[in-house]
């Protein structure tokens, strides 16, 4: 396909200077009557002689940029043309330098490597948090604004976990840039954000040493060699490379994704705080692995199973929720004490859990309010105070405690509902008193909760009650 001429018009957009001719697309600056606009148009190379992946790349780019919306670390999609008639993407123009300008000057100073690397890692982390894996990181696809902020461009090979992966079908040859490609990506895995960490590691290697870690592979077999062949340590090429930088780079270039940094944010942190980088054997490496190690790795690599993809966004592990179900009318000190003991051990076991203290009052009682009975609000507040009083000896910080007085007809249903709605991880409930269930949640309630709970349930029985149990075990 021939590049359209500058000056021609597409859907009302006037093409200016041809800025870039890639294998997949042409990129033009757009112009208006007053000169260049802060917009570019990307036109995929389609037609006879062009690769099918170009059209898919166009669709993917449109889908991913459309989903990303506006952000500091990627271009904004402004308009697009239909793939069947006039395919194009109009995006915001990113003013700045490309990383390829640096990489051609490599090796560059270690602190400079760390600075641009950290900026790129932060941009990457932003992308990963938005469910996107870039999968085509290379120096030409990383730009820096004057402020130093990194902008990642060209999302034609990206993967967004909320959209169908249109490129998954094109697996006969691994798509992407082979020089920087992670081993699992070479095997067809397209959903692991740590593949981007690997690619960024390869870029850092190039910046620090002036060489590519694995040269220019020309065949899939050569590409797969990185599964077992380690790169020459950066310090063997540029002796002035600090140990921490070698550690960071080789940590990114681990063949198994599970052995790399878990997130790009961790990589950014390592690059901005060299003194905190823990030095391992990677930092001390002076040469590549010997033949013995290589033979063993080669043998192991034959059965290499890529790590399962984590969810692209680094999801925070929510604190587990422990629900303590207390009957507050009347108060049963013996059981309360036993419940506190059980709660304390549950809290100690899980470390960061949240505690929800729950009691249930009958709806009928709430509505009647007859005779000497206090009003519903007063009773509600009293129960809350009782719950607080119960929890005080646990000495838990306020932000980890909540108190709830549920008004319901059926105690067991209310407790189960509460546990379900709040995704409880554990529920503690007092055992019914042997012989009568009057002073606690009755046996029926306890059994219903145990049977229907969406989580584990611990039934707490005070030591004093144990003697009263019928002999001969459970009846």
């Amino acid at each position: 396909m021939n590049a359209p001429q500058p000056g021609s018009e597409i859907d009302g957009f006037c093409l200016g200077e041809l800025m870039h001719t890639g294998s997949m697309a042409f990129i033009y600056r757009l112009t208006g009557p007053q000169g260049p606009l802060p917009l570019v148009m990307k036109i995929p190379r389609l037609g006879p002689g062009e690769r099918a992946v170009n059209v898919i790349g166009f669709e993917v780019c449109r889908m991913v940029l459309g989903a990303l919306g506006q952000g500091p670390h990627h271009p904004t999609l402004v308009a697009y043309g239909d793939v069947e008639t006039t395919p194009y993407l109009v995006m915001g123009y990113v003013e700045g330098e490309r990383l390829s300008d640096w990489s051609s000057r490599a090796p560059i100073a270690p602190l400079e490597v760390a600075r641009v690397g950290a900026a790129a890692a932060l941009a990457l982390h932003d992308l990963h948090r938005k469910e996107v894996v870039h999968l085509d990181l290379k120096p030409t696809n990383i730009m820096f604004r004057a402020s130093g902020t990194a902008v990642l461009i060209d999302f034609g090979l990206a993967h967004h976990s909320h959209y169908p992966d249109l490129l998954a079908e094109e697996l006969r040859f691994p798509v992407g840039n082979w020089e920087y490609m992670a081993p699992e990506q070479a095997l067809g895995v397209r959903c692991d954000p740590r593949s981007d960490i690997y690619a960024l590691g390869a870029i850092l290697y190039q910046l620090a040493t002036g060489r590519l870690p694995f040269g220019h592979p020309r065949s899939v077999a050569e590409l797969r060699r990185r599964l077992y062949r380690d790169p020459l340590p950066p310090r063997a090429i540029v002796p002035g490379t600090p140990a921490w930088l070698q550690e960071v780079i080789l940590h990114c270039l681990e063949p198994d994704a599970r052995n790399r940094y878990d997130s790009a944010e961790q990589l950014a942190f390592a690059l901005t705080s060299p003194e905190r980088v823990e030095l391992t054997e990677r930092a001390a490496r002076q040469r590549r692995a010997g033949w013995g190690t290589l033979a063993r790795r080669w043998y192991q690599a034959r059965s290499f199973e890529p790590a399962p993809c984590p969810a692209p966004s680094i999801k925070e592990n929510p604190a587990p929720i422990v629900v303590v179900a207390l009957s507050t009318a009347p108060i049963d000190d013996v059981l309360y004490e036993a419940m506190r003991g059980a709660t304390a051990s549950a809290v100690n076991a899980s470390g960061n859990c949240r505690l929800a203290c729950v009691t249930v009052v009958s709806l009928a009682a709430t509505l009647s309010g007859e005779g000497e009975e206090p009003t519903a609000t007063v009773r509600h507040i009293r129960r809350l105070i009782e719950l607080r009083k119960w929890a005080r000896p646990l000495n838990l910080p306020e932000e980890r405690l909540t108190y709830h007085v549920l008004e319901a007809e059926k105690t067991a249903d209310a407790l189960l509902d509460y546990a379900t709605m709040n995704d409880a991880d554990l529920m503690l409930i007092g055992a019914p008193r042997p012989g009568s269930g009057v002073h606690r949640f009755g046996g029926g309630i306890c059994a219903q909760v145990v049977a229907g709970a969406p989580c584990s349930v611990t039934v707490v029985r005070p030591a004093a009650d144990r003697a009263d149990l019928p002999k001969g075990g459970v009846q």
């Binding site: 669709e59 069947e84 992966d165």
Partner: protein, 247 residues
């Protein structure tokens, strides 16, 4: 054209009402019911009356295996619970509902879209589109840009690429997926009335055919009432539990 698609309603009035409200709020102007309006649930007559009202206004409605069984035709492969519900459903339907069901086609076509309950290969055989192989056959038989179907209760979107092999995609609720017109697609819209993926929210899909995008939705509804009605009708307890737990 904004098309709301509902499959496997299974006599669940609460679920279909919630989904219809949801779709109407989004501006749906066309509706399609992809079979299995009855079976399992406790509101066959009310659901059929509702579907009939939409059909009178131009909605697409195709026949499903439970609808077929409710007419007394052998539909095969029903477990005891499903069969019990069908036997009960038959006692509920009046001549008007039976006539409506009897008049339904197995497939319907509009422009470049095919509507069918199960696989388009042999709609009357109720083949499950359970994986890429079945999806591929159904897409080839359909000769349409998009096939909308149900029968399988989980939402799934298959797309045919240059390689000729369909790729499955599990949609994310509420995220519009561009469905480029040069590709072939098969969308399993999910079950309105009996979701089975451990999420008890009703499933449906919303297609904007002009802008070529499909959005799959999960809509929470009053499953407690639907389950209570199942118990009150004396239908198997398991059918009520399924709604509560989404299994």
């Amino acid at each position: 054209m904004k098309l709301a698609l509902f499959a496997d309603v299974h006599s669940n009035l609460e679920a279909i009402t919630a989904c219809l409200n949801h779709a109407q709020a989004l501006g749906a102007d066309q509706f399609a019911f992809l079979g299995d309006m009855v079976g399992y649930g406790a509101d066959p007559v009310a659901v059929l009356e509702l579907v009939e009202r939409y059909a009178a206004k131009g909605a697409v409605v195709v026949l499903g295996n439970h609808d077929c069984a409710a007419l007394g035709h052998p539909a095969g492969g029903m477990n005891a619970g499903a069969q019990a519900a069908i036997d009960w459903t038959r006692t509920q339907l009046g001549p008007k509902q039976r006539e409506f069901l009897a008049g339904l086609p197995l497939t319907a076509r509009a422009d470049n879209v095919l509507f069918v309950h199960a696989s388009a290969v042999a709609p009357e055989q109720w083949i499950y589109v359970a994986g890429p192989a079945e999806a591929e056959k159904s897409m080839l038989a359909a000769e349409a840009g998009i096939v909308f179907c149900g029968h399988v209760h989980e939402q799934n979107l298959y797309y045919l690429g240059a390689g000729g092999k369909p790729m499955p995609f599990r949609p994310v609720s509420g995220t519009p997926v561009p469905t480029a017109r040069h590709r072939q697609w098969l969308a399993i819209v999910g079950s309105v009335g009996q979701p089975r993926d451990r999420n008890n929210a009703a499933c449906y899909a919303f297609a904007d055919l002009e802008r070529a995008r499909i959005t799959f939705f999960r809509v929470p509804y009053d499953y407690r009432t639907a389950a209570r009605k199942i118990r009150a009708a004396g239908l198997p307890e398991r059918l009520a539990l399924r709604l509560e737990r989404g299994v």
